[in-house]
C-alpha cells in the first residue's frame, strides 16, 4: 500500500504538532501530588529496587495515599540499573507524567547520569545513591540525599574498631568501582587517624563469580572490612569461611555488606559479624516499631537499606509537605522545606546539611539470632554523624574526592 506524499505530510504534521503542544497543567489543589520513583526493578540490582517500591507503596497505603491533605499518585519507573535507561525514565517522569518530585535512584552511576538533567529541570529529588561528590564538590540545589555518602557510615565503625575493639591491622575488600573505593578510603582515613593500620586493600571486579583467588590473597590481620554491595559480600564471605579464615580473623562490614536482604539467605556463619548503617530493622523507636513488624508480616522478610531508604524519603516528604501546606506547585518552597526539615523517621531524627546530605544517627549492628532468624541488633549509636565526620569541611572539600588511591595507603604490607 503506498502512501501519498500529501497523506504523509498531513499525518507527520499532526504528530509533530501534538508533541509540541504545551502540556497544560492547571495548578489546582484537587490535582493529586505526583511522585516519581526511579528504582532498578530488573537486572542485577533488582532486589534493592523491588524493596524500594514495596516500602514506598506501603508508606502511602498506610496514609491512605494522602499527604498533607492532598491525594498522592505514585509513578514507579524501572531503570533496570542502566544509566541510559535511568535517564530515559527520568525524562518520562518529568515530561510525560509531570511529577512534582522524584525519589531515587538507587545506584551512583544512575544518579550521576541524571543529575544535570534534574538540576536543569529544577526537579526536587530525594536521592538514595551514595556517590560522595553529589553532595560535596558538585552539589545541586535540587538534590538531597537522606541515606548516607559512601563513607559516612564507615567512619564510626572505623573509630569503634580502633578504640573499642582495639584492632590494630585490618584488610579491606570492596568492589572495584567508586562506591567501594570511597567507602574503603573513608574507613582507612579514620582507622589510621585512630592509630590503626590498613595493611591491604583488595578491590574485586563487580562481576566476580569466584572469589577463590582473592580469598587466598588475604593477609593475616585482626579483621577484614567488607566494603561490598549487593550479594557480593555474602558470596565472598562463604568462600572466606570455606578457606578456614573466619577462625583467624574477625569480619566487619559497611552499610550494604550484610544488609537484611542478604542476611535472610545466610546461616549461623554470619553470627557475630559487626556492620554499620544508618538503619536497622531492629531499631527501637516508635516509628520503626510500627513499620518493621508490619513490613515483615506482609512481605515475610525484614526491611533493610533499600526499603528503609524510600520509607524515610516518604517521611521527609510528608514533613516538608505539611510545612508548605501541600502546595507542591511551588517547587522552590518544596525544596526549601525539604532541606530545612527536621523529620522524625524510622531511622531517628534527620536533618540536612548545606550540601543536601543527611545528618543523622549511625548504628553499629551485630548479627544475632532473634525469633529463630538472623537480625542486625544495634549495639551502639553514633548521633548526628555528618558526611565530614569530625573533619573541618573546608579542608575536606579542598582535598580530592576519595578514590582508589586517595588518601594514599601508607601502611600496606608488601
Amino acid at each position: 500500500m503506498s502512501i501519498s506524499r500529501r497523506q504523509f505530510v498531513g499525518v507527520a504534521g499532526a504528530g509533530i504538532a501534538s508533541m509540541a503542544a504545551p502540556n497544560l497543567v492547571f495548578a489546582q489543589s484537587s490535582d493529586p501530588i505526583r511522585v516519581g520513583l526511579l528504582a532498578a526493578k530488573t537486572g542485577p540490582l533488582a532486589s534493592g529496587g523491588i524493596d524500594m517500591d514495596l516500602a514506598l507503596t506501603t508508606f502511602l497505603k498506610e496514609r491512605d495515599n494522602t499527604l498533607a491533605g492532598r491525594k498522592v499518585e505514585l509513578i514507579v519507573a524501572d531503570t533496570a540499573g542502566v544509566p541510559a535507561t535511568a535517564r530515559t525514565k527520568a525524562q518520562e517522569l518529568v515530561e510525560k507524567n509531570n511529577v512534582h518530585c522524584i525519589i531515587g535512584p538507587l545506584a551512583a552511576f544512575e544518579a550521576l547520569a541524571i543529575a544535570d538533567y534534574l538540576t536543569e529541570k529544577e526537579m526536587p529529588t530525594l536521592g538514595v545513591a551514595a556517590a560522595e561528590d553529589m553532595t560535596q564538590r558538585h552539589p545541586s540545589p535540587w538534590f538531597v540525599r537522606l541515606t548516607s555518602t559512601s563513607a559516612q557510615c564507615a567512619y564510626p565503625l572505623a573509630e569503634y574498631s580502633a578504640k573499642e575493639l582495639k584492632y590494630k591491622k585490618i584488610v579491606t575488600i570492596a568492589d572495584d568501582f567508586a562506591y567501594g573505593h570511597e567507602m574503603c578510603a573513608g574507613f582507612q582515613r579514620v582507622f589510621e587517624d585512630n592509630g590503626g593500620k590498613i595493611i591491604q586493600k583488595i578491590f574485586t571486579p563487580l562481576a566476580t563469580p569466584d572469589y577463590g583467588s582473592y580469598v587466598a590473597q588475604v593477609k593475616s590481620a585482626d579483621a577484614i572490612f567488607l566494603g561490598t554491595a549487593g550479594s557480593n559480600g555474602f558470596r565472598f564471605l562463604r568462600q572466606f569461611i570455606e578457606y578456614g579464615l573466619k577462625d583467624k580473623m574477625a569480619v566487619i562490614g559497611g552499610m550494604t555488606a550484610l544488609d537484611e536482604s542478604v542476611l535472610r539467605n545466610m546461616g549461623d556463619e554470619a553470627l557475630g559479624i559487626l556492620t554499620t548503617s544508618w538503619y536497622s530493622a531492629e531499631l527501637d523507636n516508635p516509628l520503626n516499631k510500627a513499620f518493621a513488624p508490619a513490613f515483615r508480616k506482609q512481605f515475610k522478610y525484614d526491611p533493610g537499606y533499600y526499603a528503609g531508604s524510600t520509607y524515610v524519603s516518604g517521611e521527609v516528604l510528608e514533613a516538608a509537605l505539611k510545612t508548605i501546606k501541600g502546595n507542591v506547585e511551588d517547587k522552590k518552597a518544596l525544596m526549601a522545606a525539604i532541606r530545612a526539615s527536621n523529620a522524625d523517621t524510622i531511622r531517628g531524627v534527620i536533618k540536612f546539611d548545606e550540601f543536601g546530605n543527611a545528618i543523622g544517627n549511625v548504628y553499629i549492628r551485630k548479627v544475632t539470632k532473634s525469633d529463630g532468624r538472623l537480625v542486625n541488633s544495634v549495639i551502639k549509636t553514633y548521633p548526628d554523624v555528618s558526611q565530614f565526620w569530625t573533619y573541618d569541611k573546608t579542608a575536606f572539600l579542598k582535598n580530592p574526592v576519595y578514590s582508589r588511591d586517595y588518601p594514599p595507603a601508607k601502611n600496606l604490607e608488601p
Binding site: A46, S47, I202, S213, A216, G244
Partner: protein
Amino acid sequence: MQFWIIQGLNSLSLGGLLFLLSSGFSLIFGLMRLANLTHGAFFMLGTYLAATALRSFDSLNIWTTAIGAGFVVAALGGLFERLVLTRLKANPLGQVLVTLGMSFIISDACLMIWGGDSIPVPTPQNLQAPTRLFGFVFPTYRLVLVGLAVLVAAALYFLIERTRLGAMIRAGVDDRQMARAVGIPVSRLFTIVFCLGTGIAGAAGVLGGPILSAYPGLDADMLPLALIVVILGGIGSLLGAFVGSFVIGFIYTFGTALFPELAYIILFLPMIFVIAFRPQGLFGRVGA
C-alpha cells in the same frame, strides 16, 4: 610457597569448573557452527534449580541433582533447538541473535521466579570439612571438582572417539556437506548434540553452585569465560576445551593475584593474541 600452592589449587579448580561449563559450548560451536549465547543462561538455570532442590529436599544429594538438572535443561535445550533454531537454518546470524534473545528470556524468567537475591547452594555434607594440606586449609569440594572435570572429560572423550555417535559428530565437525552426502542424519545429530551440550551446562551449573551461588547476572559472568576458553583452545576440539580451561584457570587466578587492577585485561589479552596469530586456537579443527 603457600601462596603458590593455594593459588595453584585454585587455578586447577577454576579450570575444572570452566571445563564443565565450556565443553558443551565447544561441542555445539564445533558441530553446529553456532555460538550458543544461551549457554551461560542454561548454566545459571542449573544453578537455580540446584539451589531450590537442595534447600527444599534434604534427602537429595548434589550428584543426582546434577544429573536431574542436566536432563531438565537438555529437554529445554532440545525444544529450543527443534522449535526455533532449525527454522533459522538458512540464517546463521539470525540463529546467534535468537540464542542471545533466549538468554535474556531465561535470565528474566529466573529473576521473576527466584527474585533478585543471591541464593546459596549448599555444599554436600561429607565434603564440607576442609582438607588440611601441608599446614594450610583448602576447601575439599574444589578438589573434588577437579576430579569431576577429569571424569567428564574422559567420558566425553570416550563418547567422541570410541562410539558411532562420536564418529558421526567428528565427521560433521570436519566436513558437514560430505557427512550429509554419506547419509549421516545431520539435523538429528544437531538436536542430539545441542541437548548434550546444554545438558552438560545445566549439570555444570549444579556442580558450580556451591562455589558461585545462584544470582542474577551469573549467566553474563560465565558466558565470556566459556567464549574465551573455546577461542583459546580451539573450536570443535575436546582437548582444546580441556587444555584451554586449565590455561585460563591459571592465567585468571595468578593474574588477579599478581596484578589485581588488570583482572579482565589479563583474561582477554591472551585471547586477542590467539585470534591474531593462531585463529583456529591451540587445537582447533574446524573444517569446511
